[in-house]
Symmetry: D2
Subunit: 306 residues, 4 copies
């Protein structure tokens, strides 16, 4: 397992790559992040933790939340229902693309890691109102982290204002019966979900739950069923890292999900969870230093699952 | 020029093709139309008129309204402004497709006859409110027909409820700066525009204005500038008949615009306007008997512009 | 009708736009053309001719040959057979695109003016061998021009060597039964067809035959049937000017077909044919000065058919 | 590890699904296969083997050969060179699609498991002639199986005759500099590669080499470098099972590559290789009974890598 000193060294090496990336600028609230930030936490299934960099700095989950919502929704609705509305296949198209919804028959999103699929997933969270659904989701996330976690209101508000592409995806899916209910309600819920805020340690803890077949490494409690944990890790490999998921699988080989805030959640099966924050992004939207850091770690500890 | 008897014969022949088509069923209010209906009016620039079939039966304009709104908007804003937001090129894609908006750069609709382009056009009608814009549009249409024309509230309401594809198009365009303002307001205006109701004679009269270089055959008043009339007729040829515009140009060769209600407005330059109503549609969405009727007329009177 | 002096003036004005274009460089044999060249001939159906610029300079037809081959093939095979293998609809895709062949069902080229469609058309020229087919085609062209016309061997050879995109299109169409026979034979024939060489006056003469409903203005002989002449002019409007056919129809409104050599053949119905040579191209592949020249002429003489 | 009796039971259960599939009919030589055939071999890295069904029946590798050629080419050329010509990303498009080659920039195949990518890979096999390249490839395969393996001439010939889609892909890639050299030579080599014939036991042995990090379980000799073995297994997960790779990863979770002959090669890291033959295919082209059999095995022995 990782040791503290080595982790610091790897972070220092990886940090130098941050200059080749840039922070997301299309979401106003993310523009002001410091591109040189880089932090990591590792949380083992034996309940030990390591970190380097400013591991307590908070950031929003953004697309990382897609995996967590998927876990909840799979437990809420079962595989059959969920996969009748969203596919299981990777796509070569960008995460926010609408073209495949039109050209691919049936008109369901190819997978739950692209925006269209994630919106369809969030649409299936059980609950009689946005409030109820949100309460269930945030409670689930609090259980996973073992911490009191909430969302960043500014970020959620900012993203709701600029969510026209997601609105477009929603109305398209509504037309084709993939989602139901009020679109604005769904967008409110979805932008809150994306704006859930935590630090690297919290994120590593969630990764550890997935790595531990869904059981909390601390309490032993089964927070996610084993099958659902496995399904989520599979999606993290086949489509967790935007349009470089394939390259990441080859070079790193760790189930992982990234967000445009610069966060990455990794999950090394049977070993540990990883939480990374490095807001300078590469051109497909992954933390550029974060990916380098994971590549270093995976090589060092043979963490590739392949 | 056409004579009354021949027109009746041609209608009888064309009507038999109606059995191969079917009325639009995706818009609830259009479902109940009688598929065997077929009527035509011809209005010459010498101010004479002919008709056959139930030429006073009313129907909604649907996509035919796209040409009329375009004429108004071109006069309101000028060519340069309008074509900075909507293109001039035909497309092989369906009229309600969104894929090209994403894959084609810049992200503006290819032409004003597909839904995306028509929404962008209606978005440019001058006026400080939906009411003002609507008033200007319907007044313009009344001038063109020389009749008191209004819209069908049931149809407008029904289409607004089911306008999710158009909503999707609008939010996509709003994201890319093609349209501005409130999307629901635009959809209210657009569905009213599509629901404008008239009979074949009224429609033939509008076609005659275009045929007469924009001047009212009755009063001689220039209702549309000559250039705008020419531009509109050009779009009617290159993309007026949905995805069989090319075939229609070859087989008929008359500038024409169709709607899913089964209406077709034709405009034979320097000769006459044509209004047709035949709600049984072919597979691309044109009145199946109406197209046959125009083919017969064009052959008989050598009305092809080519 | 045009007069000689005015034509010279219009050419001088249009020539200045050549600096904004550039000669085709992807075909080796076209690279060395002088971008400042601009010449025009007009050939009226009353058998009079006008010209300005170096109207006797030769150039290869390239895509202009698509219309001529289409005329021959329509007379050889009839509309039904031809349009069972190639469509009649304009497309928003580039002339050399393959994507629509795959995504559009059935897998036939959308129209005869894009490369795929033109290859399918040339594949239908009657004859038992490449030699026989070629002899028939070049004889047809000689009849149209009234001159002894042949092809440029260097250009044909050069294009055959670099015809891999066309090879790709051919094998795709062969797989789907759109074309039959030996692909290399077809490419030899097609590249010769594209390399047919003539001057502006010859090209204007061909345009005049189309303008004159297929009859030779000189001899009165019907070289092309009236229906076929009409069909060809229709395609020239809906898809003759690459991906700015729509814009050209609006701004100029003359049936026309361009080639990447910088040639444009125009055909003003009932009036005249036009031959233009100006090798500096705009970004879609049309002679940039040639288009300006046609815009000037059309405005001056009200030659728009709309 | 699997035992012989259980394997027989699982095969019997899976075989019943064969009736829902059908043998490939677009390749003449595959049409006559018996749809009810189902056989499996398992070859452990401890050098033990199990089987059920007619495990000595021969079949051609078809797309399974893509992984083997990739292994050879990666060792021949190194990762950097190979991935400059072919990508690492999964795609939602069919394995024989050409559209993405055109729309995706740069114009390189998205991954080595689709036809375009596999052709680009085979194009990189070292050797001064088709014969030399072929000799190196077949020798490599013989080393992997430990058997004298060759190809089926009838199948290779048959596929070469009908390889027009692959020809189309090749010429498109040649145009864009992705492949070089003579296209027919490449197709001869590629169709021989696809026609390599072996039985389930041979295939399981190859899978075992990949499972054993590239080392021959029998001799301990490193036939494939560890990194290359890892890369190949990664591609087998992200894009090995045509357009249901994502679903297969979720339901089975074993690195695997299928072919339209009905073969599947599986590779359970650190455990065993699997060879399956069941020619009745599902709609995306995978052995329908073979997939069910792997699902049963993976569930029984917890072989999912996730």
């Amino acid at each position: 397992m990782a040791n503290q000193d080595l982790l610091g060294e790897l972070v220092d090496i990886a940090r130098s790559f941050a200059t080749y990336g840039k922070v997301a600028d299309y979401i106003p609230a993310l523009r002001d992040q410091n591109p040189d930030d880089l932090a990591i936490s590792i949380y083992s299934i034996e309940n030990e933790s390591y970190y380097a960099g400013d591991h307590l700095k908070k950031f929003t989950l953004q697309s990382i939340s897609k995996v967590i919502a998927l876990a909840l929704v799979l437990m809420d609705n079962g595989e059959e229902e969920v996969f009748s509305r969203v596919g299981m296949e990777p796509t070569g198209d960008p995460f926010n693309s609408i073209a495949k919804l039109e050209t691919h028959k049936p008109s369901k999103p190819l997978n739950p890691m692209i925006n269209a699929g994630a919106l369809a997933v969030t649409n299936m969270i059980s609950g009689n109102s946005v409030v109820e659904k949100w309460d269930r989701l945030i409670e689930f996330i609090c259980h996973l982290t073992g911490q009191k976690v909430t969302y960043n209101e500014d970020v959620a508000y900012s993203e709701l204002q600029t969510a026209n592409l997601n609105r477009s995806l929603c109305y398209f899916m509504k037309q084709h019966g993939v989602i139901s209910g009020n679109v604005e309600d769904l967008l409110v819920l979805y932008t809150k979900q994306c704006a859930v805020e935590m630090n690297c340690m919290d994120l590593a803890k969630i990764g550890a739950v997935f790595a531990n077949d869904g059981a909390d490494p601390e309490s032993g409690k089964q927070l996610i069923t084993k099958d659902v944990a496995r399904i989520c890790k599979t999606f993290m490999v086949t489509c967790g890292m935007y349009n470089s998921s394939g390259e990441f699988a080859i070079k790193v080989g760790i189930p992982a999900k990234s967000g445009v805030s610069g966060g990455i959640m990794g999950s090394v099966p049977g070993k540990c969870g990883i939480g990374i924050f490095g807001p300078a992004l590469d051109e497909v939207g992954n933390s550029i230093a974060g990916v380098k850091l994971l590549e270093g770690l995976s090589g060092k500890y043979s963490w590739s699952i392949f």
